[in-house]
């Protein structure tokens, strides 16, 4: 028996998915995460799923270890070497505030304290030419200063190094000689891109999490090997590809956001053009897939003022999750989130001492959730407690019935989710109506139907295991290396030989690195350029045509840029000069281990899946309506269910809204189509 396994560790839960590669059968378990010792949850999940690692041919892991170290400020002791006169760049930040009127706001402190930041004499100009040569003695002094103070990692980030890495590389060389064994984090290698604060911060963050991640991965590998795992585990990256442990240890920040990235990659299995919606305990996460590829971004912040500029799956996260607390502000308005009750104490209905009413409590009151079948009945929840919380905290103050308030909570939450979906679609030039919605996470399937209706989306897919979908998605990532090179030039001044030679060099490097890690098959090279109208300060990533770049292909590239700009910002400036700023190359090895899913049986009567009826709210003007309730495991391929209907399964509840029709496909996904002409236009 051969198995492939995906393990996704989030802040609250650790999810494990096993696919039997012979039968295509999928099983999953969910256990509590165990921060900060995440490995305990990892092995607990393996135990609970009763896995014999000798049978496992492929194991991919998505981890929150790095994120956790940054957010909790539990990373390494890091020293920074930078250009003399600029050691405070990461503390000064960008000089702006998170809120424009909040006098009590506290500016975040940098990950490296001031006494561990040192400038050395050296300077490049904006063209990358040496203006002041590197003073090697000062570097040595700095290294010995750090050595004395027990620094574990040295970050290196000097001005304009993205144009010419010569000084940074020399500094690294000196460190290796003077302080063997200390880790380094070099900006020219991690993020050769303009803007000193953002680059320094990214490099500092990489340094900060390095020892934590290395220690964590080493211990996983050792224990996995002991338990008989033959092939080394793979780690999901923030850009949705997978990497070897060695790569993860070199650029550990690339593991940030790997869990959510897994879910999005999972979405690529279900359609070409997809909007993924993941509703968990604390947040609602949305992202876009076009042409079967997740949209990426390089502009996400871990927390406010803590930018991470490496390519990441563009997941927009808003604070409207199942545990988000409903509250009344000083002016008497009902607000939801961003505070969340989390998993502990959790929503009031969990009975773990939570007193605040949450979105989950509202859903329970509205008949959307089943008191007796939460997590398949494994976890008892109490409708009475939900009602009490709403009554006590909201009802009296608003002078409204519990039910009306629950409806209000539902509506405001839905509006927030609709806004989030618009942000990643309409506002970036994509029409959501052309997309299929894929809904997962514990709560995604509750709201997908109403969101689709609001946005005039006509297709929704509920995957087989929505609660552990991110863990499943981990198995679909390809192995990928990304490279960037600054090449600032106007299109008229492009030196084709130079352009081609940079692209070839990066491509060769990619192939070589893949080879080193023994991924030589199914290689795909993707090339793109960050471009802008001359003088703009932000770029639009544009795909470079394949093959050797000729004058003609350059024209194609410029036209593609105009198109992209128009898509994002609504206009093009055809007479303006266009410039290239950064070249990007990804070398990708398609993973051959793709899970094949077991087909579900197509024999059986729908009536057998019917487990009862209940009154529930379906988002309309009308009150509660009676709806049939089905058990998902009992549904067979080809079954058709017309809304309104409720489908329950252990890890989620699926709501089929009126005028929506659900059909079970051959591998057990529920595919919903919506009658046209319903819902408002975008």
């Amino acid at each position: 028996m051969a198995q492939v396994i995906g393990i996704d560790i989030g802040g609250t839960f650790t999810d494990l998915v096993v696919i039997n590669t012979e039968t295509g059968e999928i099983t999953s378990v969910k256990v509590d995460s165990t921060p900060p010792r995440f490995a305990a949850g990892f092995f607990h999940a393996l135990e609970k799923a009763d896995i014999d690692l000798k049978n496992v041919s492929y194991l991919v892991h998505g981890t929150t270890v790095a994120t956790n170290a940054v957010v909790e400020r539990k990373g390494a002791k890091v020293g920074l070497i930078t250009t003399k006169g600029f050691k405070d760049v990461i503390e000064i930040m960008r000089g702006n505030r998170e809120f424009h009127y909040d006098l009590q706001w506290e500016k975040p402190k940098p990950l490296i304290p001031r006494f561990l930041r040192l400038g050395v004499s050296e300077r490049l100009n904006s063209k990358g030419e040496v203006v002041i040569p590197l003073n090697k003695d000062e570097v040595k002094e700095a290294v010995s200063y750090f050595k004395k103070r027990g620094v574990e990692v040295i970050a290196i980030c000097t001005l304009h190094s993205f144009m010419n890495p010569v000084h940074e590389l020399k500094i690294e060389e000196i460190i290796k000689e003077e302080f063997p064994g200390v880790f380094t984090s070099v900006s020219a290698k991690i993020l050769p891109e303009i803007r000193e604060f953002e680059r320094s911060c990214t490099v500092a963050m990489n340094a900060y999490v390095k020892p934590v991640v290395i220690k964590y991965i080493d211990s996983l590998r050792r224990r996995l090997k002991e338990k008989g795992l033959q092939r080394d585990l793979m780690i999901m990256k923030s850009n949705g590809s997978v990497m070897t442990p060695k790569m993860a240890c070199e650029i550990p920040i690339a593991t940030i956001g790997s869990g959510p990235a897994g879910g999005v990659v999972g979405g690529t299995l279900l359609g070409e053009e997809v909007i993924t919606c993941d509703l968990g305990g604390t947040s609602f996460d949305v992202s876009l897939i076009t042409k079967r590829k997740p949209k990426l971004t390089t502009e996400k912040d871990i927390t406010w003022g803590m930018p991470l500029r490496i390519p990441q799956v563009d997941v927009l996260s808003v604070g409207k999750g199942g545990g988000s607390i409903a509250w009344i502000d000083a002016g008497g308005l009902l607000r939801i989130g961003p505070k969340s009750a989390g998993a502990y104490p959790g929503p009031a209905c969990y009975g773990r001492g939570g007193k605040e009413p949450t979105l989950t409590d509202a859903c329970l009151v509205l008949g959307i959730l089943n008191e007796k079948y939460f997590l398949g009945g494994e976890m008892p929840i109490s409708k009475d407690l939900a009602i009490k919380a709403i009554e006590k905290k909201l009802s009296k103050k608003l002078n409204m019935s519990v039910k009306d308030i629950a409806v209000g909570i539902y509506k405001i939450a839905v509006a927030g989710m609709v806004e989030a979906i618009k942000l990643v679609s309409v506002k970036r030039g994509f029409d959501p109506r052309e997309f299929t919605m894929v809904a997962y996470g514990g709560g995604g399937p509750i709201f997908a139907g109403i969101l689709a209706k609001e946005l005039s989306i006509s297709n929704i897919i509920f995957p087989r295991n929505p609660g552990v979908f991110s863990a499943l998605g981990l198995l679909l990532g390809d192995v990928q290396f990304d490279y960037t090179r600054s090449y600032p030039t106007t299109i008229e001044n492009v030196d084709l030989d130079k352009l081609n030679s940079i692209l070839n060099e990066l491509e060769d490097k990619g192939r070589e690195n893949l080879k080193e890690e023994s991924f030589e098959k199914h290689i795909e090279i993707l090339r793109s350029a960050d471009m802008r109208y001359m003088g703009q300060n932000f770029e639009v990533n544009t795909l470079i045509p394949e093959g050797k770049i000729t004058q003609e292909k350059l024209v194609t590239l410029v036209e593609r840029f105009h198109q992209e700009h128009e898509k994002w910002y609504g206009y093009r400036m055809k007479d303006e000069r266009v410039e290239i700023v950064i070249l990007r190359v990804s070398a990708n090895s398609k993973q051959v281990i793709k899970p094949t899913f077991r087909k579900v049986s197509s024999t059986g009567n729908l009536r057998e899946a019917l487990k009862g009826k209940r009154l529930a709210y379906f988002g309309g003007i009308k009150d509660f309506v009676e709806s049939p309730v089905y058990q998902r495991d009992m549904l067979k391929a080809g079954h058709i269910i017309e809304g309104q209907a409720i489908i329950e399964q252990t890890d989620t509840t699926i709501i089929i809204y009126p005028e929506q029709v659900a059909k079970i496909d051959e591998v057990g996904n529920i595919v919903v189509t919506i009658n046209k002409k319903i819902g408002s236009k975008i």
Binding site: N96, A330, Y571, S680
Partner: protein, 611 residues
């Protein structure tokens, strides 16, 4: 969605529209920053976006530039009054930059696009205000520190249509662009502003379609009512009475006299009245604030000491009354010069409000802020770029005042704005400069139980054959105030002037940094215009820290130790002002010596350090 009748407020719909419109303002700003040309726009975020209703009242704003946000309200109202609602048509865009008609200073352009229902009713007006790098006038990049009339500061465009029924009014554009030094970039920035309005229009149309005009109008009104209610609640919590304070600006750039800003804040039940009577008469130099600026900064001050979650819009303004005598420095008459009114006088307005309110809500205010935007502009012609003209505007962040339970924040943009600094790597790409230093300044924070935030030191070397520079800064010769026993920042005694914020110039690589008073015999050390710099000259821009809060002798010695370790406080100042004795080698606290020194200093009164 049902049409709402008067008085029938669905609080859920209210919340949905309210947060949606704020999000829209935010979105307009992001689009603008990403497509603009100037670094001050795209990196510096010197702009603001807001949504107004059909009555020209502000309904929503995003967290951009406070000084713009209040004044914009007047600008939109003025445009509508002057052009006439009846003369507006779909596809029109209005523009103006007159400081005396709700403007801020002359480089700030407000543009707006009325959005109509299908039946032709004016429903909403998305608007934005942005700082354009050059609007003509006597100096490149504006900010002539010696201007005495608005005419010298640049071209004034009264409320006009720059786009009519979707078509650009090319005559107006030609007039504007032929009066500025860098027409290409300026036009590109206007494009970005227009693009952002298009986004605003599109989304307002969606709201109209979804809710219908009546419902949307009803809720826009309710959003303002809601904020008014909240603001009045907040004000009601304050004790009735009148609370006064005053503070000064160094000078107006023309004469050496300090400029007084005086406020008397009266709390009368649920109403706040800020009366600036007693402030200096309007001045000759460019330090005059227009009424829009004074009102903006009053709102700014009030928002900062009430509830930051309170959605700021026109409703809040109803609970705040601003009295600023005509012809004074806080409400100057045309044609006064106003460049610095918007960035310096404005800063002092918030500070005096804090000082006045410290008497009743010490837990909510802060000690004095570093007190300037430290404006530094200029331009020239870059031979390396084929003789292309260039202009810049940079400002500098500094330390904020200490608070009741926290230190002041280090290196932040003044109250006036919420702009970002412009990355060195981007500036060096754009301008013939080499930035030589960008660091925090030791001992710049005022000592206190909660210390004032720290300022910055920024040095630029000029590589162009010739560059003209302009300076408007302040609080060089007067310190920010400390509160409740907290001290003002300790002055740097070795200087003739510029004890706190400072600007100095080194004319060539071998000479020393000197003040402009020494180099050019100017009256003011903090305001100047069109100073020519040769290749190789450097300018040092120092911002200082904020005032301290609470007696520094009560500061936790461990925090003093940490400040010393990190170079925020010197060993000497730790001893003199905090009474903490730290070993210079080990950086350990000498506990017995500290206890003894503190008790001695305590007996000697708390006024140590004030000399």
């Amino acid at each position: 969605m049902r049409v709402q009748k008067q008085g029938d407020v669905d609080i859920f719909t209210l919340e949905v529209i309210r947060s949606g419109l704020i999000q829209l303002s935010r979105e307009m700003g992001i689009a603008m920053s990403r497509t603009a040309y100037s670094v001050i726009f795209s990196e510096g975020y010197d702009f603001s976006c807001a949504i107004f209703d059909g009555k020209a009242e502000m309904v929503a704003q995003a967290e951009f530039n406070p000084v713009h946000l209040g004044a914009m309200a007047f600008a939109v109202e003025w445009c509508l009054k002057e052009i006439g609602i009846r003369n507006l048509e779909p596809g029109d865009v209005l523009l103006h930059n007159d400081p005396f008609r709700g403007g801020t200073h002359i480089t700030d352009f407000t543009i707006m696009m009325p959005v109509f229902s299908d039946k032709g009713e004016l429903i909403a007006i998305p608007a934005n205000r942005g700082h354009l790098l050059d609007v003509g006038g006597k100096t490149p990049g504006g900010f002539a520190g010696d201007a005495t009339e608005v005419y010298q500061e640049g071209i004034t465009i009264p409320p006009v249509k720059v786009q009519s029924r979707g078509k650009k009014v090319t005559d107006i554009w030609k007039i504007i662009l032929s009066n500025v030094r860098i027409p290409g970039p300026i036009y590109a920035d206007f494009q970005a502003m227009l693009g952002s309005l298009e986004i605003g229009k599109r989304r307002i149309k969606e709201y109209i379609e979804k809710y219908g005009t009546d419902t949307l109008k009803f809720y826009m009104e309710e959003i303002k009512n809601y904020s008014e209610k909240r603001m009045r609640q907040e004000i009601s919590k304050l004790p009735n009475g009148t609370y006064e304070a005053e503070d000064f600006l160094d000078d107006d750039g023309i004469t050496p006299d300090p400029i007084k800003i005086k406020v008397a804040i009266t709390i009368k039940d649920n109403m706040l009245i800020a009366d600036y009577t007693g402030s200096s008469k309007q001045v000759e130099g460019p330090l005059n604030a227009t009424y829009g600026v004074t009102a903006s900064q009053t709102y700014n001050g009030v928002f900062n000491i009430t509830d930051p979650l309170l959605p700021s819009n026109h409703g809040c303004f109803r609970a705040i009354k601003v009295i600023a005598p005509a012809g004074s420095v806080v409400n100057a008459d045309h044609p006064a010069a106003t460049f610095g009114g918007n960035v310096e006088t404005s800063s002092r307005i918030v500070d005096v409000m804090m000082a006045a309110m410290s008497k009743i809500i010490p837990e909510k205010v802060a000690a004095g802020c570093y007190g300037t935007c430290h404006n530094f502009t200029g331009g020239g012609v870059d031979p390396e770029k084929g003789g292309e003209p260039f202009c810049w505007y940079i400002f500098r962040e500094g330390g904020w005042g200490g608070r009741a339970t926290k230190d002041g924040n280090d290196a932040l943009m003044d109250y006036v704005g919420n702009d970002k600094n412009q990355p060195v790597e981007i500036l060096e790409n754009r301008y013939p400069w080499l930035v030589e230093k960008y660091e925090l300044v030791e001992d710049s924070g005022g000592p206190g139980k909660y210390r004032g935030g720290i300022g910055t030191n920024y040095v630029i070397k000029f590589l162009n054959p010739k560059t003209l520079i302009n300076i408007i800064t302040d609080k060089c010769n007067q310190s920010p105030f400390g509160l409740l026993g907290g001290l003002p920042p300790i002055p740097r005694k070795e200087k003739k002037c510029g004890h706190w914020n400072d600007i100095r110039i080194k004319m060539n690589e071998t000479s020393e940094f000197k003040h402009i008073t020494e180099l050019f015999g100017t009256i003011s050390a903090s305001k100047a215009a069109s100073i020519p710099l040769p290749k190789g000259a450097s300018v040092e821009l120092v911002t200082y820290g904020g005032g301290g809060y609470g007696d520094p002798l009560e500061r936790n010695p461990k925090r003093v130790q940490s400040d010393v370790k990190n170079g925020f406080v010197s060993l000497e100042n730790a001893r003199i002002y905090y009474g903490v004795v730290i070993d210079s080698k080990t950086l350990e606290i000498n506990i017995p010596a500290t206890e003894e020194l503190r008790s001695q200093l305590f007996k000697g009164g708390k006024s140590i350090g004030k000399e």
